[in-house]
């Protein structure tokens, strides 16, 4: 059983992989080209001789390559999925070689709108091309190839990470043996697109945004904080908000009948918004949320079943009962399309009150499912010679 608090991978270091230098830029789905491209990534554990124990973890919208361990001994927090990655944990670094790479478009070390455009010597800003989930995966594939890995044992991710995992399964079917999409969807719903749009409007309406050209000056803090607050509302559930805050007032006994921060839930959102501004770039938020909006695995045919017919991996699809951002029915849609293609698929719907955030919080049940699923890697999924 995964041990969630002890057994850290220890001190780790982010690495950087550069490729697609001009004139060999990477072609993007939007038709434009990008290069050179930097990917920030981290690895944990040891690759075995035949490179058959490699697991690629995909992060969500605001995530990064730092999935486990600490960069410095005195870091206050560990990587974003430290409870799942480490010796004896679900992604057991004594058995598996775990890789996590930051997506393109991000601001966490990989090429994004805040990176320097070598043509101008200035930050890209809005000149950065629109990237899609497929582009993110295409860039990762170059990294995986450079590590000499022919087939990943498993690709796994929650939320936007799950979208990338699904994209791997259909774009590089021979290169992935098992796929674990968690709390995700095969296509962004109009409701999700709407929330993303409001978040982007908040950023773009901030006078400090200046059409993305704010590097070196005051960034659009207010806009980004609001975008993050909207995001957080969609990550929680009605019940988790009741449990966490209720109608409790923040640091006061009775309401003050003004527009100060009255309720605990307001205070929480303010805190989350402010904390996010310190670690994330507003333009990256625009680009990555846009990448999710464009994600539709059913295209170009319009039939999810048809598009998933290319997949060869074995799947473990996991959803959470109270997730209303990517509700269980979206996972069942994926499972249905996989089953209709006669693929090996397990589906688990976990009862949880934590909403979309469950994929980061329901460590115990996730560990049990994933650890056991991975144990059978040698018996399932796409085989290279088939």
């Amino acid at each position: 059983m995964g041990n969630s608090n002890s057994n850290s991978v220890g001190i780790v270091e982010t690495q950087y992989f550069t490729f697609a230098a001009p004139p060999r830029e990477m072609e993007l789905e939007c038709g434009r080209k990008l290069g050179p491209i930097v990917l920030a990534y981290e690895t944990y554990g040891t690759m075995n001789e035949d490179k058959s124990n490699c697991i690629l973890i995909e992060h969500a919208l605001s995530g990064d390559a730092h999935v486990a361990g600490k960069h410095h001994a005195d870091d206050s927090t560990a990587g974003w999925w430290d409870s799942m990655v480490g010796p004896g944990k679900a992604f057991d670094t004594e058995k598996y070689f775990v890789i996590c790479s930051n997506v393109i478009g991000s601001c966490k070390g990989s090429s994004g709108p805040g990176s320097i455009n070598i043509e101008t010597g200035m930050a890209y800003g809005m000149d950065f091309p629109i990237v899609t989930i497929k582009d993110m995966v295409k860039a990762q594939k170059v990294l995986i190839d450079s590590l000499g890995i022919e087939q990943l044992m498993c690709v796994v991710g929650g939320s936007m990470g799950g979208m990338q995992a699904l994209e791997w399964a259909v774009t590089y079917p021979e290169c992935v043996r098992m796929v674990i999409p968690i709390a995700t969807t095969a296509r962004l719903s109009p409701q999700s697109i709407a929330f993303d749009a409001v978040g982007r409007h908040a950023i773009m309406a901030d006078p400090n945004w200046k059409f993305g050209d704010y590097y070196g000056s005051e960034p659009p803090r207010q806009g980004l904080a609001i975008a993050r607050m909207i995001g957080h509302i969609t990550y929680l559930s009605d019940k988790s908000m009741h449990n966490k805050f209720g109608r409790g007032l923040q640091n006061k006994e009775r309401p003050s009948y003004d527009f100060s921060t009255e309720f605990q839930v307001e205070s929480y959102l303010n805190y989350k918004g402010d904390a996010f501004v310190k670690r994330f770039d507003a333009n990256s938020y625009l680009y990555i949320s846009k990448a999710m909006d464009y994600f539709d695995l059913a295209e170009p045919s319009g039939e999810l079943r048809t598009e998933l017919s290319r997949a060869k991996a074995a799947f473990l699809v996991i959803s959470f009962s109270s997730d209303w951002l990517f509700p269980p029915y979206m996972s069942r849609e994926i499972v249905s399309a996989l089953r209709r293609n006669n693929l090996d698929v397990s589906y688990a719907e976990i009862q949880s009150d934590y909403g979309h955030d469950s994929f980061l919080l329901e460590v115990e049940v996730l560990s049990r499912l994933i650890e056991n699923f991975l144990d059978y890697a040698d018996q399932v999924g796409a085989k290279i010679d088939e």
């Binding site: 698929v345 589906y347 719907e349 399932v380």
Partner: protein
């Protein structure tokens, strides 16, 4: 038996888990379901509707090299299936059965499940549609112990196969062997074979004389009539 399985797989001793003795696997399968292992042809595709912790599916996978999958509502049981390396769908029994095309399975198994469903008739027909054969086990409400309890004591029957009180029983659609045979006749289902059995001394014994009275349960192999 179940614990030993899980321990072995958790330790990651895959070679060992592959070598687990057939005898051990057989022992983990409830007595009344072991006959089903004999029925299934080697290498078949099998779907178990309400597969529980997957003991039967694991046995079919290991002993008959069957390609198996299950559907199970209980989250604990679903997790046990995944711990056994089985593919399982966590949800209601009738959820998404339309994903399965006609006769895409060699066998669809329904063991000890029908009586808890709201519309068992619909699921029987789905099982017969999806499977070239449907293997269905039922507790027999015509069993003499059941009849005697109602007749002589005037109480709702409780037996090994039907252990519940009237108020907490999940069983809402009980049937007898006679009723079930009649249902098949009326619904264009051919009974390919029927095993009427009673458990005695921990073993399943075949009942040949008046099974509707002496058999505790029955296993039917059905197929749609051409």
């Amino acid at each position: 038996m179940r614990t030993s399985w899980i321990t072995r797989t958790r330790l990651g001793l895959k070679s060992m888990s592959n070598d687990v003795k057939e005898q051990d696997i057989l022992q983990s399968v409830p007595t009344e379901l072991r006959r089903i292992i004999d029925i299934v042809e080697p290498g078949s595709k099998v779907l178990d509707l309400g597969c529980g912790e997957g003991h039967l599916l694991k046995a079919l996978q290991k002993i008959k090299r069957a390609r198996v999958q299950g559907i199970e509502l209980s989250d604990v049981a679903m997790q046990e299936c995944i711990a056994k390396g089985l593919f399982v769908y966590h949800g209601d029994l009738d959820e998404g059965l339309s994903d399965f095309s006609d006769k895409c399975m060699d066998y669809v198994i329904l063991t000890n499940t029908l009586q808890v469903l709201h519309r068992p008739d619909k699921l029987i027909m789905e099982a017969a549609r999806i499977g070239k054969k449907a293997v269905i086990s039922i507790p027999n409400f015509g069993y003499w112990r059941v009849r005697f309890q109602l007749m002589f004591w005037g109480t709702m029957p409780k037996t090994k196969g039907l252990p519940f009180d009237w108020y907490d029983s999940p069983n809402i659609h009980l049937t007898t062997i006679h009723d079930f045979r009649r249902f098949c006749g009326e619904h264009n289902l051919e009974i390919v074979s029927e095993m009427d059995e009673v458990i005695g001394g921990g073993e399943a014994k075949t009942v040949t004389t008046n099974p509707n009275f002496f058999a505790d349960y029955a296993i039917f192999v059905l197929q749609e009539k051409a």
